[in-house]
């Protein structure tokens, strides 16, 4: 009785709290449209309903009503969501479903407020707040990736190429960033980078509920862009694309944003890049922040199809039904989805293998890293490579 009394005092309120009870728990949220497999990465990884959106919704309701206390276990379950947006697309209730990602984000924000977050999440926040990047690397080295590409620091060209922390500091991301930079220059695009003045975009921090840190980063970036006269931004990373496009305008941003695959597709359409024959079979992995979050499915495919001789094949879960690599919602850094056989990255590379493709084409540095690691874990290095769309295009340059 004592614990019941103490629990009942511990109720929680979130902005969308008045609709949490509307979840019917039908379970559609964890499937793709054709039900051929589970499409919720955390449910797929752990296999318990607790980790599916419907399970989370019921836990949240219990937590809001004081039946469940805020504790590390509850926080782990909330932070194991990869924010892939599959639930939003599959939920049977129109309108209500649009609020699902907001509800999960609001709960995480409340956990941040209460100071009960898993240690890797706490470490991420600390690293970004202290260093401007989650890698804890010196700001002065942020532009090192660009050495030898010929791309210069932004001084008023048409576009800013924003690479983000993964593009700037991770080996796999840097490779992708270099290819994009070289292609843009080769096609004659007027573009520059912020190099050591670039800071984290804040997308993943926001997804993890750290709204204060996000706001600080966003306002800082908006001010910087405005001061430098940035009107158009090309992002390497769909995460940055997502927050620039959907969150920054409310904070006063007035620049246009493009994902690099949109620009590449346009350049190829306009014959600004001449390609030669490259045989082989490639399958494209839709990043959640590009596909489901922002509806960009065609440009990366168009770019790949522009390579003569290259055969593009689809995985059984693609487009709006694509299975997440597991790196969304900050999980790329916090690794809350564990690394077992059913970890999303490993599931995804096995799906890619089914297609018979030799290459998984990616449009996100986070996905690239997650899938490259999964290929190694699955022992598939001899059969599958992970490459950025830009890297594939660059290799086909005549």
């Amino acid at each position: 009785m004592e614990s019941e009394a103490s629990c009942s005092q511990n109720t929680h309120a979130i902005k969308h709290g008045d609709i949490v009870h509307r979840c019917f728990r039908c379970g559609c949220c964890k499937f793709p449209s054709d039900y051929n497999d589970f499409n919720c990465p955390s449910y797929r990884a752990f296999g318990w309903d607790t980790y599916a959106p419907g399970g989370r919704m019921w836990l949240i309701r219990g937590w809001m009503e004081g039946e469940i206390e805020t504790n590390q276990r509850f926080a782990e379950i909330m932070y194991a969501c990869a924010v892939c947006d599959n639930c939003k697309n599959q939920c049977v209730f129109p309108r209500f479903r649009d609020a699902l990602p907001d509800i999960f984000e609001e709960v995480k924000a409340e956990l941040v407020e209460e100071g009960v977050v898993p240690p890797p999440v706490r470490d991420y926040f600390k690293a970004v707040a202290t260093n401007g990047n989650p890698y804890k690397l010196p700001q002065a080295t942020r532009g090192d990736w660009a050495k030898g590409t010929g791309i210069e620091k932004f001084s008023g060209p048409e576009y800013l190429f924003y690479v983000g922390s993964v593009g700037a500091f991770d080996e796999v991301g840097m490779k992708m960033a270099r290819s994009v930079a070289r292609l843009l220059l080769k096609a004659g695009v007027s573009v520059g980078i912020l190099a050591d003045e670039e800071t984290c975009d804040g997308n993943d921090g926001k997804a993890m509920g750290q709204t204060g840190l996000f706001q600080q980063l966003a306002l800082d970036n908006i001010g910087k862009f405005r001061q430098k006269g940035v009107k158009k931004v090309i992002t390497l990373d769909p995460h940055a694309y997502n927050t620039f496009k959907n969150d920054y305008p409310a904070l006063g941003a007035d620049f246009q944003v493009f994902h690099h695959t949109e620009i590449l597709a346009e350049l190829l359409r306009g014959k600004k890049l001449a390609l030669c024959e490259r045989s082989g079979k490639v399958t494209y992995h839709d990043p959640c922040y590009l596909g489901r979050h922002n509806g960009i499915y065609a440009p990366p495919r168009e770019a790949l199809k522009a390579v003569p001789g290259l055969l593009l094949t689809e995985m059984r879960q693609s487009g709006v039904n694509a299975f997440c690599c597991g790196g969304g919602g900050g999980n790329f850094f916090t690794d809350m989805l564990a690394a077992g056989e059913d970890s999303p990255g490993r599931v995804r590379v096995r799906q890619a293998l089914e297609t018979g493709a030799a290459v998984i084409a990616v449009a996100c540095p986070n996905c690239a890293k997650m899938l490259a690691d999964a290929v190694k874990t699955e022992g598939l290095e001899e059969r599958l490579a992970v490459q950025g769309v830009a890297e594939i295009i660059e290799q086909a340059l005549s």
Binding site: F24, C26, G27, N36, D49
Partner: protein, 388 residues
């Protein structure tokens, strides 16, 4: 087994989540049966057949795709082929069950050899010891299930009438055709366009346009007298067609969200088809008495020998008073069904007690005998099917 609260541990214990035991073990495409593990979901079998055996299908219920095949048969679930072939539990071709003693037991042809083609005949049908028992006699770990031809084209017609007393006769005429896939009757006050009418949704299939048009012509033919007498007519369904043909029909869940509260519950007794009008009247009476939003729906079973009549009420989980009224209304609906000689379907523990009370004492003794012998310590889903 997640339907209708049957996993609620009424007397404590362990809830077993079977969903990771989800392999599709075998499909015999020629003999048209599949063997699946106890946690295989309806959605997974549907997707597997679509990909690997597109000419075959199973009787998919309109329950969410996450529900399992084993749970569905263990509570005598229904599906899209129930009108043609009976309850989904009638389609079982063999079982593997873990008994309360821990023994693993195979039922039907798999108890004799490797082939899962018959759950009983020509043996005594022991599947009846597990099907309908709501997990109180054993845990189903494998199910053999009949598959059926998946015709290339599926179509639907919607007949509308305001003459409830004519509905049994209309259903009788439709089932006389022996060529329809599924027949549902439904009525609801919202949205307004459906108010005061009864809708008969008639599904039919064919491998080509000729077969489809032949069946359409025949079903229009049997309904023509009602059109001539102005007692009904076929409704244009262009804008709801896609939703009606979806399997499972996700739009059914929409009803749960009408009061913006994420829930509906129904009492769905199995009744003779000529009882349709009295159940329809009772539903409207209950909705008025308890101030509830209702939906009535019936599905024909086995060519019209019986139907499931769902008395459904939507509720808002945040409104405790409304939920209490729904509970009372559903209990009254079950009482009514038992008075009329109907059998409550997927009964929760309260309805089980009501059924057992009404049951012939000799039958009740057999119930008790079976349970006592299979589960002498009463460890399986305790609180369900308990004879006091």
């Amino acid at each position: 087994m997640s339907l209708t609260g049957l996993v609620i541990p009424l007397k404590g214990g362990i809830v077993m989540d079977m969903k990771r035991m989800n392999k599709i073990v075998e499909v015999n495409p020629m003999a048209r049966w599949a063997v699946v593990e106890g946690g295989t979901s309806q959605g997974m079998l549907k997707a597997y057949l679509q990909k690997n055996h597109p000419g075959l299908r199973h009787s998919l219920p309109d329950a969410p795709a996450a529900t399992t095949i084993a749970a569905n048969v263990s509570l005598h679930g229904q599906g899209r082929l129930t009108q043609q072939y009976g309850f989904n539990s009638d389609m079982v071709t063999g079982l593997e069950v873990v008994l309360p003693t821990g023994e693993i037991c195979r039922i039907g042809s798999p108890s004799i050899g490797p082939h899962w083609f018959s759950r009983g005949p020509a043996l005594p049908d022991l599947s009846g010891l597990f099907l309908g028992w709501l997990g109180t006699t054993g845990i189903i770990t494998r199910v053999g299930l009949m598959l059926y031809p998946n015709k290339k084209i599926r179509d639907v017609e919607l007949f509308v009438t305001d003459r409830v007393e004519l509905i049994p006769e209309m259903l009788f005429r439709l089932t006389h055709l022996e060529m329809l896939e599924d027949i549902n009757v439904w009525f609801q006050p919202k949205p307004l366009m459906f108010q005061d009418n009864f809708h008969i949704t008639i599904y039919f299939t064919g491998d080509d346009d000729e077969e489809i048009e032949f069946k359409r012509k025949k079903l229009w033919g049997v309904m023509q007298p009602y059109i001539d007498s102005r007692d009904g007519g076929f409704m244009s369904i262009q804008y709801i067609r896609e939703g009606l043909l979806e399997m499972p029909q996700r739009s059914i869940a929409d009803f749960a969200d009408v009061p913006k509260g994420g829930g509906f519950e129904y009492s769905g007794p199995i009744v003779p088809i000529d009882h349709f009008p009295r159940y329809a009247a009772k539903l409207v009476e209950l909705a008025a008495k308890y101030r509830l939003l209702y939906a009535g729906a019936a599905r024909l079973i086995s060519g019209g020998h019986s139907m499931m009549f769902a008395v459904s009420f939507a509720f808002n989980r945040d409104d405790r008073d409304l939920m209490a009224r729904v509970k009372e209304a559903l209990e009254e609906a079950t009482e009514f069904a038992l008075e009329q000689g109907g059998i409550p379907w997927k009964p929760n523990f309260i309805e089980q007690k009501m059924i057992l009370k009404k049951m012939d004492p000799s039958t009740r003794r057999i119930f008790a005998m079976i349970k006592k012998n299979l589960d002498p310590r009463g460890i399986m889903n305790p609180g369900n099917w308990e004879v006091e």
